[in-house]
């Protein structure tokens, strides 16, 4: 079955801001929209929803929402799209229950019921509350529930979880992942993007700077200069080998070599996990170091080294089996070690975190 797409071909000025985007977005799973603030993430979502006057073309599975030459500009309420705004935007004159029913009454037929969504997002105890008495996190959950009720064919989520605590966030993320509705998910947190989205769209200065599989996008150097070096790193696919309860460590297989991490009991031996390794947590050596507290030393090949004249840092990409690890070292170290692409190096991983 050919996957349906959201066609975007926008070249439009909104006040002082230009938005240019031309791509076909597959309508399945979660696509992260990622980039610095002011880069156009929210504007892109608002344009798709129809809240910004734009020129170009937007079509969802062939249904034209915007077609400037053809003078099509479908009003927002007729576009089958649900929005969760950064600021929740609950209706203050209705209680939580009323907000949910407002959406349910106008929903496309065949969607979840108020009871189902209430149960899924654990809103039962909030239903009779006025929205002015909700906490920030509660508001976002109600807003999310309200949007899910519309049964739209595409969800646009603008940092919907920024007000939630970590535990609640994890619950809702796993719920979102299991929904069959395609989503565009705006975030400026790399970790959230890496965790959620198979696909990532990077926007900066109103331009698309990258679009593709999340792992590939997060590994690309030119994109990391947009997303901020401090967050630069790689996602590594690792298989759980064994747990060591005595030292509270878990051993994982990365590209045929072993690393140890703080024990995660959620994982069983044989499970695959995504491990995020930040570039600043990786050092390089040209010989296997001895007498070192760092236990994770991966032997690999230097496949990319980028230095910038006006920066003290160099970024190295090391291939470890079928996985990649990025290291951020100083340019001076790179010169001292005479690093060259193609040579064997050891990546010293100071810390890594489980993504899932």
């Amino acid at each position: 079955m050919p996957s349906e797409v959201l066609e975007l071909d926008l070249n439009t000025s909104l006040g002082a801001f230009d938005l240019e985007a031309s791509l076909d977005l597959p309508l399945d799973g979660i696509t992260a929209v990622f980039g610095p603030s002011g880069g156009g993430k929210t504007t892109l979502l608002r344009t798709i929803a129809g809240f910004e006057k734009a020129s170009g073309r937007i079509a969802l599975a062939g249904e034209r929402w915007l077609d400037s030459p053809g003078r099509v500009d479908m009003p927002p309420h007729r576009r089958s799209v649900g929005c969760v705004f950064q600021d929740a935007r609950l209706f203050g004159h209705l209680h939580v229950d009323g907000n949910l029913r407002y959406a349910a009454r106008r929903a496309c037929p065949g969607g979840a019921t108020v009871d189902e969504v209430t149960a899924a997002l654990d809103l039962g105890s909030l239903l009779s509350r006025p929205v002015s008495e909700l906490s920030g996190g509660e508001r976002q959950r109600v807003a999310l529930a309200r949007t899910l009720l519309t049964n739209a064919r595409l969800l646009l989520l603008d940092e919907p979880l920024s007000a939630l605590d970590t535990e609640r966030k994890a619950d809702i993320l796993s719920y979102l992942e299991n929904l069959s509705v395609p989503m565009l998910y705006v975030s400026h947190a790399v970790d959230e993007v890496a965790l959620l989205a198979e696909r990532t769209l990077v926007l900066a200065d109103g331009r698309v700077r990258g679009f593709g599989a999340t792992r590939e996008i997060l590994e690309r150097l030119d994109i990391q200069s947009i997303t901020g070096r401090f967050e630069a790193g790689t996602l590594v696919r690792a298989r759980v080998v064994a747990h060591d309860p005595q030292y509270h460590l878990t051993t994982l297989d990365v590209g045929g070599q072993h690393i140890v991490m703080p024990m995660s009991t959620r994982l069983a031996a044989g499970d695959f996990a995504r491990v995020r390794v930040r570039a600043r947590d990786v050092a390089l050596a040209t010989a296997r170091p001895q007498a070192l507290s760092i236990r994770n030393v991966l032997s690999g090949t230097l496949i990319d080294l980028v230095t910038e004249e006006d920066s003290p840092f160099a970024e190295a990409l090391v291939e470890v089996g079928d996985q990649h690890v990025r290291a951020r070292i100083t340019r001076a170290s790179a010169d001292d070690l005479a690093l060259r692409v193609g040579q064997g190096v050891y990546a010293l991983v100071k810390s890594a975190t489980f993504e899932q």
């Binding site: 309420h77 929005c83 935007r89 203050g92 002015s132």
Partner: protein, 222 residues
């Protein structure tokens, strides 16, 4: 106690308020959301009755509405009645005179609601009219109440425009303020006292209600 002028005043104020709710709401909505460059001009026009002497308004309304004028003669043909010195003419005059008292509170209420809840409604598949009726109006409820109460009270308190356009016809144009004027002219101070004190108390209660409402209904946090 004369009930005639009181009843007539109440009827005039009620009809004026209803007409202005119908006319002022779309105007206030448009003013709150438009980005046109003529907006300040329209706002200034809307506010004119606040600063013009009622005699100026009354004078021009008289010229506009008298049976020899275009509007006035049409009205005579259609209804057989004159617009000047009639209740209908008073309603038109009051609508013009009280316009800012309806439009300004509504405009600020709509502006305070802003676009955000309307966009949320649209994303929940509510059409613009639906969103207006089910989101903007309830969220502006206090604005509607304030606007209606002020319009009603201001219409009750008008004098100059009524005198110019309506004169002093019992049962037709003789409202409370005109009745008081006549009582004073004819030195019937006791009757003037009753009506004046009544208007004073009424006006105070109305303003008290408006200011209490502004305290009691907190702005809905979104």
């Amino acid at each position: 106690m004369e009930l005639g002028p009181i009843w007539l005043t109440a009827k005039l104020a009620a009809v004026t308020t209803l007409v202005l709710l119908a006319l002022g709401t779309p105007l206030a909505w448009w003013l709150a959301h438009t980005q046109t460059r003529v907006k300040p001009a329209i706002e200034a026009l809307t506010a004119l009755p606040l600063v013009l002497p009622p005699t100026v308004l009354g004078f021009y309304l008289l010229i506009l509405l008298h049976p020899g004028s275009a509007i006035g003669s049409l009205w005579v043909q259609a209804t057989g009645d004159s617009l000047t010195f009639s209740f209908s003419g008073l309603v038109i005059a009051s609508v013009v005179y009280s316009l800012p008292f309806m439009v300004q509170p509504l405009q600020s209420a709509f502006a305070a609601v802003g676009r955000a809840p309307l966009e949320a409604a649209a994303s929940l598949r509510a059409s613009r009219l639906d969103a207006f009726a089910t989101v903007a109006v309830p969220l502006s409820a206090r604005g509607f109440l304030t606007a209606s109460v002020l319009t009603f009270a201001h219409t009750v308190g008008e004098f100059g425009v009524v005198l110019m356009v309506g004169g002093n016809i019992p049962g037709e144009t003789r409202v409370v303020s005109i009745a008081i004027y006549e009582h004073v002219e004819t030195l019937q101070y006791a009757d003037a006292h009753v009506l004046s004190a009544g208007l004073l108390a009424f006006s105070f209660v109305v303003l008290l209600v408006v200011y209490s409402l502004n305290r009691r209904f907190p702005v809905h946090a979104l």
